[in-house]
Symmetry: D2
Subunit: 356 residues, 4 copies
């Protein structure tokens, strides 16, 4: 198993949904840098469920307890450990015997990989709850990036058939970045919110769920960051972002649109602007040869619909080896895309800080 | 710089287009396993340019010389080093002074990163030629995978506006896999070839280039391979595939289509078949929670159009700090997508062997 | 900072002496294997101070709280996190301003490295207390090794001028291994205890401390484990053992004695015994070319005297930049060698499990 | 197998004694830094055998051919690959069937690990010849260190019973460092040479070999380099130095002597000198808590006698499973200690550059 990320700033995430607690150890943080813990909590609140009808009803206590690595308001340079305790989770009402794996969940693959020994309660280590320490770690990393002038913000690019407008690829203003990075339903064009909520509500009423996509921008990135080949910016961000549950695709700049384009349209012309080299367009998403070119880094991630739905589904019974049906009781979050926004930002932050 | 990949079987790629040679060191190969070097050469021939009008006219000698790690026809367990010598490349006719970076190339970002010290002749370490050792390493890795019953094959999913049919997601027959993995213009529906070549020829006549996409399937993958979170199958493949120049997007299974779907359609139902757990559909692309579920792994990669085109382009002059125009003489490969197919397969092989 | 170890089973240690808690995350443990937590506590008790006059008077609550990774008595395969809370440690009676670094301590080097931002209370992350999670992690790893037939035990090879007898290099019986691995003052020849305690008491009465050495044996190690060159058994064990504070030397087999020997005496002759290849002598300490040869692995580690002594010492004042004197009040552990024994064993276990 | 080292500047060594060639790939070198290749060759010449009677009679062509990574006299930032071709080595006069493993050699352990598939000719990947690329890589790394003011030099601390004087621990002058780092029989007190050569000659005449030890100093090391716990300076150097064949022990500063000392004698008092913090003594070898303190780093490595001797030795026959005798024909190097000096320096350079 590898719930670790990074060579320079190493993130090691632990925890299972119904265990004693979840959390993260971050090794390699620079001593002496000030950390704004309130800003960290703001990020965690963006991810936390339970704020409205679009969310899972379970109340989580997401307040992280910092065991080490911060003294007063500054990093000590020692590994930072933050723990979020689980409450009311030692449920006795169901055992650890997996019978019917939920379609599109990790239930079955974890069962095979861990030979049935994994903690299946609430999804165990595969629970969406495990994204809380990702956001925590990302919130620390983004503060370090901000001191280097790098900002990260994402928005809900689409839910079902409803799309937000896209980032202007070549220039993105700070006010937008700031607004998005604090929003819990992040949109460039906020008019889209009601239609998006409509999509979610429609799915909910049919005991169904709905997918979407997230678009993320990184501004202030200096040119020359990243390594060629296997440690390029795209690969580093992709590895982190695919660590976020439910992500099934990622594209940079014009992405899959590039596959239909001619070079004469796709190639971003270089221009001088205020003594700096810029590009007129940004089809490459701020990355050439795996290395940042100083333009905004832009990527989009595809989020599959939440697998947990209350409709009856076809599955198998692993104990009997027969086909079976499954009906999951209780309320489920019909759309995780709004809450995925801060997680994607956090994954990008974790990836990028390791490139400096 | 990090032209290395893998924890178990470590790939370290070296070389510059116009240096003494390019190659790869592969550390961690299992002693005693037989290697079919002819099959390796077949893969390298698929990538080699110069076979027809769609390719760059430069003749490459791609015959790898194996310095270590193989004795007779078997791996010795020691690091395998293969070198491909560069010939006729110590060109005296241009220096190492980068003046006008080619749009959409790594010229500018490498200039910034390496402070102008990088070998710019032919793109240096960023040359497409560096994919030859990727294919070599991948050809070794895929032979190890084949002994575990795992096959990898890709095809040209699209060039410009012309698409091939897609892999049948849930079941892919061996004959198709074998045919594709030997083809130099790999298509499921071979009728598409003439229309695709037409797209390429049209671009070439306009001194332009054209992008495309590659779809790759991995069959015979046992369930339970991959790690949760940051070392999942998606992340591992993505990191390797983004190491291939010109890749700007990757999606698994239904990919970005999933963002528009409902859970009730997207969730792949589990079924028993011949005593084995399978899924009816394969929208997840054979991966759940980062772990293989035993179904074919399917992904698509977006390939941007070749940046090198002979049309006049807008750029800057790094020596004078002024806007400039650039006209690249000589013939260029108007479409690298056919040759990218074996490179993508190789990248997948390198990623997957490190998960076992 | 890197308080992490291992590629396969990754250990990430966190905590500062006076912070909220210390602990460890262990990633990559095999799902389903049973863990005997009582046996873990036995190892932690061997390391814990406060058992007699030779120890530091501070009472530690070393009971680890397991947050994740174990369900019932078995590993779930998810990262295991264990936390040991610090109690009564938010001392207000001294600030975080380092004035006079203790000679031979990390005070000065940590001050330079962390620019004065490190938590200096009780040594912070450099506290001997941080060896508790090493022992915890090692206790888990040694249980995994025992299932492979591998046993680890160490003894106090010397304290000051008093030496224990050495392990018989070529054959070590199980009873001895078992006895040593449970002992809190581990000696092969237990008659040495009173003389060793005499050395310690003499140092204590003079407000001084005394060094020593630890000899460790690993039995049941199959031949063929370890990698050549930089990941050999010696290098792996050395890296882990130098992670234990106060270790300043390590030697394998006959070690430094080999530098005075002739090949004809040093070369361990191979012999057949019960159908197995063994060596008559074991000057190589069970390792040839970095790879285990099936004989016991034997190494010795040099432990410097505890730096904290109550005698007046010469140091500098970092605030004034002048020479100064330092007198540390309170009782100090005059000899950590007995307690270092289980820590050295744990370090060896962590190193070895990563070679399998 | 892992013949790789380093996270920042990654060294990947390949080759077998009788294969097509041996060499190294160095990934992560800083673009633009000038390299003095003549100085590299000087280091390689120090290691090369065949200079006098104390050496193996085989003539090696050790001239490295640089395939990539250097353009003119400067690093390009791309991976540097250097190859040393093997000549006259495709010997047909013995096969690849290991019958009688040489005592104290890796013959047996490599046979077990690689299941008999390893190239046994000349020791294969375990040949002493493989230290040539270590010296090459070290020579590059030490030039980078020198630009940071860091010098590395070692000397023959002892051969058999004859010892050189030791480095003055607290202050070592540049002239000595320069002289030693160019010498092929490096001694502080050059009067010891004749007696040392006498030891070697005596061993040679008895068809035997003799061990020794090497002491290495690193001067100009700034304070604050290294990480606590598992990536401390001691652990990093130890991992690299144990990668050198025949090393069986390492100690830092006063090393094993510290195990007999009192804290009051062992603790190095801090003093101010010319506005800088220094220590009066240097028992800690320049390292406290795993981090450099600005004093010279000093360590000693124990080198076992060359296993290859011409005396008749007891071994086993792996084909018949019986005890056997072995007589190795030909001349052998009776003492590798002089030639180990530049290899130890190179290993230290490789370890240290990765800590910056």
């Amino acid at each position: 198993m590898s719930s670790t990320f990074g060579d320079k700033i190493k993130i090691s995430i632990f925890g299972e949904s119904h265990g004693g607690g979840i959390g993260v150890v971050i090794d390699g943080l620079p001593a002496g840098e000030k950390i704004d813990l309130d800003a960290v909590l703001v990020q965690m609140a963006r991810r936390a469920p339970g704020k409205d009808k679009t969310a899972t009803p379970r109340r989580e206590s997401d307040l992280p307890k910092i065991l080490s690595g911060i003294l007063g308001d500054a990093l000590t340079g020692a590994p930072l450990c933050a723990v979020i305790e689980n409450t009311n989770t030692r449920s006795s009402d169901y055992g650890n015997l997996l019978s019917k794996p939920r379609p599109a969940h990790s239930d079955y693959t974890a069962f095979v990989k861990y030979k049935g020994a994994n903690d299946i309660r609430g999804g165990g280590h595969f629970s969406g709850r495990i994204t809380a320490p990702i956001v925590f770690a990302g919130a620390i990393c983004r503060q370090l990036l901000e001191k280097r002038g790098v900002k990260i913000a994402a928005h809900i690019a689409s839910i079902g058939s409803v799309s937000d407008v896209r980032f202007c690829p070549a220039e993105i203003d700070d006010a937008l970045m700031n607004r998005l990075s604090l929003s819990s339903f992040a949109l460039i064009d906020e008019c889209a919110e009601s239609r998006m909520r409509g999509e979610v509500e429609a799915a909910r009423l049919e005991l169904d769920s709905i997918g979407g996509s997230v678009e993320c921008a990184v501004t202030g990135m200096p040119a020359g960051i990243g390594e060629p080949m296997f440690d390029g910016v795209e690969g580093a961000i992709a590895k982190a972002v695919f660590g976020v549950p439910a992500v099934k695709g990622i594209e940079f700049g014009a992405g899959f649109e590039l596959s239909k384009m001619r070079g004469s349209n796709a190639n971003d012309p270089f221009r001088m602007k205020d003594g700096r080299v810029v590009t007129e367009t940004n089809n490459c998403g701020g990355i050439l040869g795996g290395i940042s070119n100083g333009m905004p880094i832009i990527f989009r991630a595809a989020i599959k619909p939440t697998p947990s739905i209350s409709q009856k589904q076809r599955t198998v019974d692993l104990q009997t080896g027969e086909n079976a049906e499954l009906e999951i009781r209780g309320r489920h979050d019909p759309c995780i895309v709004p809450r995925a926004v801060p997680v994607i930002e956090a994954a990008a932050a974790i990836a990028l800080i390791n490139l400096f």
